[in-house]
C-alpha cells in the first residue's frame, strides 16, 4: 500500500517542483502582457465595492482598482477578468497564481502581511467600526451612548472592539446579538436597539435596508482600524510597484486636480508636477516596465480617487458614504500618496 502511494506521490511532487520553477521564470507583468488581460480577484458581492449589474458588468471601489492596474499595464481598463472569490479562497487564489492581484476588501494586518507570502500594495479605503443611530435620539457623538442597547453581529471582531471601546470610556451598554448583518438591520429597524454597530462601509449599506433610511445617521467616531487594500504575491517587486503606484496615481491625480474629464486638456499644462504625472518629463514609466503615459491612462479611463469614490460609494451613489478619513491629507483626511518624482 505504502509503496503504491509512493509511486503516485513522487511524480506529483516532481510536478509541483516544476511548477514552482515555472513561477520564478516569468514575472507577473510578463504573464499579464502575454495573456492580454489582468486576472483580478474580487468579492462575490459587496455593495459599493464589487457587484455585478444586470448586464454582468462589475463595478465598485475594489473593481476600479483592478481597472486602474489594467489601464496602467495594458492601456485598456476593460481588459480585466474578474474572479469572484469568497473570504476563505482569496489568499489561496493569489498564492497559487490563479489571479494576478487581489482587490477584495481585505484588511491589512501584521499577520496577513507577514505570514501569507503576500504583500499589501497600499490602502484603497480606510474602513473602521462605526455606529448608526436613529436621528430622533439627538445623539451626535459615540461618547453619549452610555446605557444604550446595541445591535451587533455575533462572532465578529466588532463585538470585541465594542466591548473594548465602552469599557475604556467607562460606559455601559446592552448587547442585542444577531447572527447575520441583515438581522442586525431588522433589529435596529424594529426598535430593539438604539444603536447599530458594524464596519462603517457596511453601516451605509445596512442603512439602505431600513424602512426609513433618512431617519438614521452614522456617527463620526471610528473605533477600530480596518485599512482595506489590494494584495500581490511576495517576491515580484516590479509587479508590487505597479499595483502600488496605480493606486498612488489615482490619489495623486485628485490632489493635482486631474480628472478623467480634464486630463486631455492638461497635456499642455506648464505645471511641472502635472507634466511629470503625465509622463511628459520626469521619471516616466521605464522603471516599472510600463509605457510613459501609464498614469494618464489610469486617470483617463478610470478616474482619480475622488471620482471613483463619488461614483461607487459617495454622494452620487445610493450608499452616500462621507469621505471622512478617506479625504486627501490636505482636506482633513489621511489619504497621502508619495510624489511623482
Amino acid at each position: 500500500m505504502i509503496r503504491k502511494l509512493k509511486k503516485w506521490v513522487a511524480p506529483a511532487l516532481l510536478l509541483a517542483a516544476a511548477g514552482a520553477q515555472a513561477e520564478t521564470s516569468s514575472t507577473t507583468l510578463e504573464t499579464v502582457l502575454s495573456k492580454g488581460y489582468l486576472s483580478c480577484g474580487v468579492n462575490t458581492g459587496l455593495p459599493g465595492f464589487a457587484t455585478p449589474d444586470e448586464k454582468g458588468q462589475w463595478s465598485g471601489m475594489d473593481v476600479d482598482v483592478c481597472r486602474g492596474v489594467a489601464a496602467a499595464v495594458l492601456g485598456d481598463a476593460g481588459k480585466v477578468k474578474y474572479i469572484p472569490l469568497t473570504a476563505k479562497e482569496r489568499f489561496t487564489a493569489l498564492q497559487s497564481g490563479e489571479i494576478d492581484m487581489l482587490s477584495r476588501n481585505t484588511t491589512w494586518t501584521l499577520t496577513r502581511d507577514a505570514s501569507l507570502g503576500l504583500n499589501f500594495a497600499g490602502v484603497s479605503y480606510y474602513d473602521g467600526q462605526g455606529f448608526l443611530v436613529k436621528k430622533e435620539l439627538g445623539v451626535t457623538s459615540a461618547k453619549q451612548l452610555d446605557g444604550a442597547a446595541v445591535c451587533i453581529q455575533s462572532g465578529t471582531t466588532t463585538e470585541l472592539n465594542l466591548a473594548d471601546y465602552f469599557r475604556s470610556n467607562g460606559m455601559k451598554y446592552q448587547p442585542v446579538v444577531f447572527d447575520t448583518s441583515d438581522g442586525t438591520a431588522k433589529g435596529f429597524d424594529s426598535g430593539r436597539c438604539d444603536v447599530l454597530t458594524s464596519d462603517q462601509s457596511q453601516l451605509y449599506a445596512l442603512r439602505l435596508r431600513l424602512s426609513k433610511p433618512d431617519q438614521a445617521v452614522v456617527l463620526p467616531e471610528i473605533i477600530s482600524k480596518e485599512p482595506l487594500g489590494p494584495l500581490v504575491r511576495q517576491g515580484d517587486d516590479q509587479w508590487f510597484n505597479i499595483v502600488k503606484w496605480s493606486l498612488f496615481a489615482m490619489i495623486n491625480a485628485e490632489e493635482l486636480g486631474l480628472t478623467s474629464a480634464n486630463i486631455d486638456k492638461s497635456k499642455s499644462s506648464t505645471d511641472p508636477s502635472v507634466r511629470r504625472f503625465l509622463g511628459i518629463e520626469g521619471p516616466k514609466g521605464k522603471g516599472m516596465g510600463l509605457k510613459d503615459n501609464w498614469a494618464y491612462q489610469v486617470v483617463k479611463q478610470v478616474g482619480n480617487y475622488g471620482e471613483i469614490f463619488e461614483r461607487n460609494i459617495g454622494e452620487s451613489s445610493p450608499l452616500k458614504i462621507e469621505r471622512g478619513l478617506n479625504a486627501q491629507w490636505s482636506q482633513g483626511g489621511i489619504l497621502y500618496a508619495p510624489p511623482f518624482r
Partner: protein, 357 residues
C-alpha cells in the same frame, strides 16, 4: 311482488358532493373539526396579507429599488435581472447556445418522460452518452468553431442545471459500479470500493468543495489551471456517487441469491447476469431512493456558492448586494426557492410515474 329492480337511491345529501367530502374528511369528529377550524384560521391569517404583499401591492417593473412601492413586494428586482439569473454572465450574442442546451435537455427529458413516444432505450443512450458531450461542446464552444466562452462567465440557473445534470449522469453509473464492487468477491476491489464509499460519505460536501477549490490548486503546478467549475463538478460526482452506491446496494441485496445462481446454471457470466437479470430489478426497486439522491444533489449544487461559483442562489445573492437593489432579499430568496421547488417537485412527480409503470 315487485317485478322490477328498485333503482338505487342517491345517498343522503350530507354524504354527497363537497358537503359529504368535507363531513367525512374535515369534520368527522369534534376534535377533527377543531383542528380544521384552527388550520383554516391560520391560513386566513397568513394568505390574505401574503397575497396583498406578493400580488396586489407588488411592483413588477423598474430599474432600481426606489421604483418600487414600500408596501408590496419588489418583483422588479427579479424581472430586471431575470436574464442574469438564468444565463449568468454569458455573452449576449451567444445566449442562443444556452437556449440550445436547455432545448436539447427538454427534448431528451420529454422523450424519456412521455410514455407514447417510442424508443426509450435510444433516448437513454442519447441522454447518458451524447447529451453531456454535445452540451459541453455547445456551451464552451471550443471545438465547434464557436467563440469560446469560459466557465467563469457561466452563471445562474444554467450553472445549477449543468452541475446537476453532470452530477446525476456521472454519479449513477459510478455508483452502480461501486455498489457491485462492494459486493464483489474479489478482496482488492471490495476493499477499495468500501474504503471509497466510507471516505466520501464520512466528509461533508462543503469540505469536499473547499478541498477542490482551495487545496487542489496549491498541489498542482501553475500551468495546469483546473477550471473551478470542473473541480466543483468532480467533487460533487465523487461525493454523490458514494451515496448512490449505497442506494443501489440496497436494491442489490433485495434480489434473492437464487437468481444469480439460476443465471450461473444457464451459463451466463458475471456481467451478463448482473446487467440482464439483477440490476434491472434492483434499480426498479430503488427508484425512490435514486430520485431522492438526485433531488438532494440538485439542491446541494447551491453549496458551490461557498467557493465563489455563481449558481442560481449565489447570483441572486450577488444581485442583492447591488447598491441599486439593496433590501430586496425577501423577493430574491423567494424566487430562488420557487425555482428550486419547481425542479425538485417535477423530479419527484416523474419518479412516482416511473414506479407505477
Amino acid at each position: 311482488m315487485e317485478q322490477k329492480m328498485i333503482p338505487a337511491r342517491e345517498p343522503p345529501v350530507n354524504s354527497r358532493g363537497i358537503l359529504g367530502w368535507a363531513r367525512e374528511n374535515l369534520f368527522a369528529s369534534p376534535s377533527q373539526s377543531l383542528v380544521t377550524l384552527a388550520l383554516l384560521y391560520g391560513l386566513y391569517l397568513f394568505i390574505p396579507p401574503f397575497w396583498q404583499w406578493a400580488v396586489m401591492d407588488a411592483s413588477w417593473t423598474g430599474s432600481s429599488r426606489s421604483d418600487c412601492t414600500t408596501e408590496g413586494a419588489c418583483w422588479a428586482f427579479v424581472t430586471a435581472r431575470l436574464d442574469q439569473f438564468i444565463y449568468g454572465f454569458y455573452p449576449d450574442s451567444e445566449i442562443w447556445r444556452v437556449n440550445l442546451f436547455f432545448a436539447q435537455l427538454a427534448v431528451v427529458l420529454g422523450w424519456l418522460m412521455i410514455p407514447r413516444i417510442p424508443g426509450k432505450k435510444m433516448a437513454l443512450v442519447i441522454g447518458l452518452l451524447v447529451l453531456p458531450v454535445t452540451s459541453w461542446l455547445i456551451l464552451t464552444g471550443s471545438l465547434l468553431g464557436l467563440p469560446p466562452v469560459e466557465t467563469h462567465q457561466w452563471g445562474g440557473l444554467m450553472v445549477t442545471l449543468v452541475l446537476a445534470l453532470y452530477g446525476m449522469l456521472a454519479s449513477l453509473p459510478v455508483g452502480v459500479l461501486l455498489a457491485l464492487g462492494r459486493r464483489s468477491s474479489m478482496p482488492v476491489v471490495r476493499t477499495f470500493c468500501t474504503a471509497y464509499i466510507e471516505l466520501w460519505r464520512g466528509v461533508p460536501l462543503i469540505t469536499v468543495l473547499f478541498m477542490a477549490s482551495v487545496m487542489l490548486p496549491l498541489f498542482v503546478p501553475e500551468e495546469i489551471v483546473f477550471d473551478k467549475l470542473v473541480r466543483a463538478m468532480i467533487g460533487i460526482v465523487m461525493f454523490q456517487s458514494a451515496y448512490m452506491a449505497e442506494v443501489v446496494r440496497g436494491g442489490l441485496q433485495a434480489i434473492p441469491r437464487g437468481q444469480v445462481e439460476a443465471c450461473q446454471s444457464l451459463g451466463m457470466g458475471y456481467w451478463q447476469s448482473m446487467l440482464l437479470v439483477v440490476l434491472p430489478q434492483a434499480i426498479r426497486l430503488v427508484i425512490p431512493g435514486i430520485v431522492n439522491t438526485f433531488i438532494a444533489l440538485f439542491k446541494d449544487t447551491s453549496l458551490v456558492l461557498v467557493i465563489g461559483l455563481f449558481d442560481l442562489l449565489s447570483i441572486v445573492q450577488a444581485g442583492l448586494n447591488d447598491p441599486q437593489w439593496l433590501g430586496s432579499a425577501v423577493e430574491g430568496y423567494l424566487f430562488a426557492g420557487f425555482v428550486f421547488w419547481l425542479f425538485c417537485f417535477g423530479m419527484s412527480q416523474y419518479s412516482q410515474r416511473l414506479e407505477k409503470h
